[in-house]
Symmetry: C4
Subunit: 286 residues, 4 copies
C-alpha cells in the first residue's frame, strides 16, 4: 500500500498509517491479528449472550465486555479516519461502511432493546483475514467464481423466474388438494412448503397426507431433482469457460512473446521453436 | 411489432394496438407496467384471502377487489380480441389462452365454491415482464437452457424410467420389511417414501424404525447420492455443448468473413485453407 | 428378430413366434401392448391390495384378479418356452428369468403368507416398453449413461470407501457425544443418522440436541456439501468424455471417407477439400 | 515391495517380512485377508455392544472377544516393529500410527469408562484392502480425485468463508425474527439451523413458524439451491482438467516417441515440427 502525503503531523500519522492500514511491517501485522481476535471475541460474546443459561450467570460481564469492544472499535474507526489522507474515500469504501456499522449496534441499545444482536455484522470484518494472508491468490480465485456467477446471471434469473412460477402454481394446487389440513393452512404457507420441497430441504413440519397430495408432491420432487441439475450445469459450464479463458490468455501471451521477433528474415515464416537456430522452412540462419 | 392493417375504425384501433400490444411507445410501456401491477395485486389478494385471520377481517373487501380485477381483465381480453387484425390467431396463442384462463376462475365461483383459487393461474401472465425488459438477451439464454433440456430428453427419460422402477421395488421391499409400522401402511405410501428419500427431500413423517429397514434405507440413500450425479452430468454436458456450439458458430461466421478476402484472383472461389499456395479450383497462384 | 427353424408344427409355431416375440407385425404389436396393460393392471392390483380400506371392501375381487393374471402370465411363459427354437437360451436370458419370477409369487402364497407382494417384480417386465418404442435411440442413450458409470466405477468405489469410513467414525463420535440421548441409542443407529445427514436426506427422527453434537453435525453437513460435488464431477466429466468420443468417432469416420483416395498424385499431400479440383500444394490436377 | 537387509536373525525376519508386509506370496495374501476379517469382526463387535438388547445378553462374550482381538493386534503391531529394518519409519508412517491407535482403546478402558468405542478407529485399517487388490488402478483414480480437490482448495476456502459469513448473519436474523420461539432459542442454535437449511439437510426439529421467518427461510433455501452449484462446478471443472492433463501427458509422451524417429540425420536433434523441411538446429534437409 502506497503511503500518502500528510499535511499535519506527517511523521506520527505516517507511522500510525503503516501500522493500522499496512500489513508489511511486523507492527502492522500484529495490529491486524489483534484486531481479528478482538472481532472474533466480540462476536462470540454476542452469540453466547443469546444462550439463556449463559446469560443468567454472566450478565454483567457481557455488559462490560460489549462496551469495552465497542469503545475499542470506535477508537479504531476514528483513528482510521484521522490518519488517512482521504477520510471521505475511506468512509465510503466497503470496509469503511462495515467498520462504522460494526460500532453502531451497541449505541443503538441505549434507545432500542435487542439492537445488540446486530453486532453480528462485525463478522463481515473477519473478511480482513484475506488481507493478512497476502490474499492475491484468494482474490484471483474469488474473481473466477464471481465472474462465473456474473456471466451466468441472466440464465440464473430465467431459471429462478421459472422456479418461482412453478412453486406458486404447485403451492396453490396443494392448498386446494389438502384443503387446509396437515399444515397447508393458507396459500403462502403452501408456497413455502413447495419451496422447502423443490430445494430438497424437506423439514417435514408441513407434509401431504392425502394420496392425491402425495402423488402431486412426488411429481414436484422429481421435477426438483431434474431442475437442480440446471443451475449446477450453468455454473459448471461458466467456471470451465472462465478457467479455459484464463489459461488461453496466459498461453497466447506466452506465444506472443515467443513468436515476436522470431520470424525468418529470408522467407518470413513464424512460429519457430525457442531453441531453433535455422529456419525450418528455408534453412536460413535466424 | 409490425402494425397490421384494419378494416373497421382503422385509426383508433391502430392507436389502441400500439398501446395494448406494443412496448415501444411511452403509452405502450405504461399500459404494460400498470397491467403487471394489476396482475401482482390480484394474485396477492387471492393468496391473502386464503389466510384465515386476514379473510375474517377483510372478507367483503376481497369480494369487491376480486370482481374489480376480473372485470378489468375481462375488458382487457375483449379489447385485445377487438383491436387485433387476426382475433383467431391471438385467441389460440399461448398468451391468448392464458389471458382467457386468467378471467374465468372468478366467474366459476358463481357455480362452484373454491374455484377462486384457480386465479393463481394469473401468475403465468407475469412472464410478460420479459416483454418489457426487451427480452432478447433473456430469450437467448432461455433457448440455450431449453435446447440443453430438449437435447437430453431421451437420456432423462431413460434415467426417470430407471428411477421409477427402482423406487417401486424399494418401496414394496420396505413395506414388507417394516410390516405396516412407522408410516409404511401401504405400498403406494411406501413408494411415496422411497421418492421422498431418493430425491433427498426427507420429510421424516415416514421413516424406518427396524434395523433391517434402516440398512435398506441407507443403501437407497447412497444410491440416490450417486444417482443425483447423473441428471446433473447430463444437463451440464449438454449446456457446455450448447455454449460451445454457439461460440463455434460465431467463430466460423467470423472465419468466413476473414477468409473471404483470400478469394482466388483468377476464378474468385473462396474458402482456401490457410496454408494453401495454389487455388484449389483453378490452380492459379494465390 | 430373425425367425428360427422349428422341428415340430413349424407353421403354427412360426406364426405364434411372430406374434409373441416379434413387434414388426400388427398382431405382434397388439400382443405386446395387451401384455403391458396386463402387467400394469396386475401390479396396480397388488399395490391397491396393500391399502387397508381398499382391501376390506374388495378382498374377494383381488383374490380372483391375482389368480387370473398369474394364470395368464403362466400360460404366456409356457407358450414362449414352447414356440421358441432354443428354450434353454430364453429361459436363462434376462427377460426369461424375470418372466418366470413374475409368475411365482402368487403360487408362493399357497405356502407362505405375504408372498404376494413379490408380484411387484412384474414391474421390471415394463422395461419391455422400450422394445415397442423401437428403442434404438433409447438404447444408445442408455449405453452412453452406463458407459459413463462403468468408466467411473473405480473412482466411485474409492469415493464410497472414503464416505463409508467417514460415516462410521462420525457415527461413533456422535454416539459418544450425545450419550444415547435424542435417538442416538446405539452405534449402528448413529451410523444410520450419519448416512441420513451426509446424503442431505435429513429425516429429523434422530437429531443432535447438545451444543457439541450440533457443532459436529454442522461439520459433517458442510463436508457432505463439499463431498456431494465429487460424484457429480466424476460422472459429468465421464459423460462429457463419452459424448466427445462419440462425436470424434463420427467425425474421424467422415474424415477418413473424405481423405481416402484424395491424396495428390503429384506431391502426395492429403486433406483436400471435397470440392477441390487442383492440389492446394503443387497445383497438379487431382 | 523391496526386501530390506536385516542385521539379526536375517532369515526368519525376511520370511516373516514377506508374509506380514508383502502381498505377492500366497502366505502374504492369506495373512492380509485374515487380518482384514479380524478387523471387520472386532469393529462389528464394538458396534453390536452399543445395542442395549444385544449387550444385555452377550456381555461377557463381548468382554472376551474385545481383549482377544486387542491382544492379537498388539502382537501384530510388535511383530511389525521387530521384523522391519527401520522401526522408526514404520512407527511414524500413516499406517503405523493407525495400527498403534487401533490397539490402545481397550487398554484405555482400564482407566476410563467408555473408551472402548474408540475401537472404531480400527475401521481406518480396512483401507488396507486396496493393498490386496493390487491397488495401482485405485491409487491412480484416488490421486485424480485428490489432485482435483487440492487444486481447488483455494476456491473451496473462499466459498466456505462466504457460506460461513452468510450462515452467521442469516442465523442471527432468524433469531431476531422468530424471537426465541419454535426452536430458535439462541444464536448458535439458529446458526445451526441455517447450516441445516443451506445444506438442504432439513431435519425439521427447528423450523420457522412466523410468516416473516418463512419468507427469510425461503430466500436462504433458494440461495442454498444456487450456491450448491458452486462447489460442484469447481470440482467438476478440476476433475475434467485433471483427466485432460492425464490424457495430454500420455499423448505428448506418445508424440515424443513417434517424433523421435524424425531426428536430424546430420546433428541428431529431435522434436522437429511435423511440417518442417530443414533441421531447425543445423539446417540440414530432414
Amino acid at each position: 500500500m502506497s503511503q500518502p502525503e500528510f499535511k499535519y503531523f506527517p511523521k506520527i500519522r505516517k507511522q500510525l498509517f503503516t501500522v493500522v492500514f499496512g500489513t508489511e511491517t511486523r507492527a502492522g501485522k500484529l495490529f491486524d491479528i489483534i484486531l481479528l481476535w478482538a472481532i472474533v471475541l466480540s462476536v462470540l460474546i454476542v452469540m453466547l449472550e443469546s444462550v439463556k443459561e449463559v446469560r443468567d450467570s454472566f450478565d454483567s460481564w457481557f455488559f462490560v465486555a460489549e462496551w469495552f469492544f465497542t469503545g475499542l472499535f470506535t477508537i479504531e474507526y476514528i483513528l482510521r479516519l484521522v490518519i488517512t489522507a482521504k477520510p471521505g474515500k475511506y468512509a465510503f469504501s466497503f470496509f469503511g461502511i462495515i467498520d462504522l456499522l460494526a460500532t453502531l449496534p451497541t449505541y443503538l441499545t441505549l434507545f432500542v432493546a435487542g439492537g445488540s444482536y446486530l453486532v453480528v455484522i462485525r463478522s463481515i470484518r473477519l473478511l480482513r483475514i484475506f488481507r493478512i494472508l497476502k490474499l492475491g491468490r484468494y482474490l484471483r480465485e474469488a474473481s473466477v467464481l464471481s465472474n462465473a456467477l456474473v456471466a451466468s446471471r441472466h440464465k440464473i434469473l430465467v431459471f429462478l423466474g421459472a422456479v418461482f412460477t412453478l412453486v406458486m402454481i404447485m403451492g396453490t394446487l396443494m392448498y386446494m388438494i389438502e384443503g387446509g389440513e396437515s399444515g397447508f393452512t393458507s396459500i403462502p404457507r403452501s408456497i413455502y412448503w413447495a419451496i422447502v420441497t423443490i430445494t430438497t430441504v424437506g423439514y417435514g413440519d408441513i407434509a401431504p397426507q392425502t394420496i392425491t397430495g402425495q402423488a402431486v408432491a412426488s411429481m414436484l420432487m422429481l421435477m426438483g431433482y431434474a431442475i437442480i441439475a440446471v443451475p449446477t450445469g450453468i455454473v459448471t459450464s461458466e467456471i470451465a469457460t472462465a478457467e479455459k479463458n484464463k489459461k488461453e490468455m496466459e498461453q497466447s501471451k506466452k506465444n506472443l512473446e515467443q513468436s515476436s521477433g522470431r520470424s525468418c528474415t529470408a522467407c518470413g515464416v513464424k512460429g519457430h521453436d525457442e531453441d531453433a537456430i535455422y529456419c525450418k522452412n528455408c534453412s536460413a540462419k535466424l
